[in-house]
Amino acid sequence: MGNDGTGIMRRRREEGPVHRSVDGTFSINLEDHERHALLNFVDQLQALLADGPKNEDLTRLFPVAYNANPDLNAEYQKYMADELAQSRAASIETVRTVLSSDSPISEQQAMAFASVLNSLRLVLGSVLDVSESDDFDQIEEDDPQFDQWQLYGYLGWLLEWTVSAISGE
């Protein structure tokens, strides 16, 4: 009478990978290999962020604030770019904690999780040059970027569940 895993899979289909409990905490039901993979991507994100806005793949993470006024924007970035990087670093640390244990997490931690998943999608989406007409179900297996498209889809799936748990849906 061992656990063949079908119970886990069924629960995952029914509740999704992110679940809100009645006490307002959240649980993340991911397999160990998923947690390890996500931690690995988070490490890569942190390494990329060390490059700062110079890296082209990170343009979406460091957007222009004053698009009609380069001088005001330069002034804004002078003060805020570092603060933005620090805020991202703090969210990444939170997500490391979240992914390193099975313990229930707070809504604030769930929001950091959503935000970091979104950052990963922004970087990957920039690398893949995603457009609104892209349908990643249509990407062929022999596409050189097939794995990245799969990952992009996976992150979107996980983020969608996280958002829906936080929204209480």
Binding site: L61, P63, V64, A65, G125
Partner: protein, 103 residues
């Protein structure tokens, strides 16, 4: 002949009027815009509007649909400092936000 002070209206009023012009004339508000992009999920964008601005789900969904269909939407407005803070918080969450003074 007693020394009298000039009537209030002759001396004080021009100064007062000048002060009023400088300090009370309303500044045009700064608008915070969010732009459409092909990466951010619609549900995520709506959630961020709810969490950052305290908007109802209905209002956040409507703003998100405006961004999606019209390419951009004004999501908040106020002083320049307030708008910078909102832009920063939107950037923290990966939304494509900019600000400009109302024309």
């Amino acid at each position: 002949m007693p020394v009298t002070t000039p009537p209030f209206s002759q001396v004080a009023q021009p100064d007062l009027a000048e002060q009023v012009d400088e300090s009370v004339e309303p500044q045009k508000p700064w608008l915070v815009l969010v732009w459409n992009d092909p990466i951010n999920l619609m549900s995520y964008v709506s959630l961020i509007f709810q969490k950052l601005f305290g908007y109802s789900k209905e209002k956040a969904d409507a703003l998100m649909m405006d961004v999606h269909e019209k390419g951009r939407a004004v999501v908040s407005s106020g002083t320049r400092e307030r708008a910078e803070l909102d832009v920063f918080r939107l950037h923290e969450h990966g939304l494509w936000a900019t600000m400009e003074q109302e024309s």
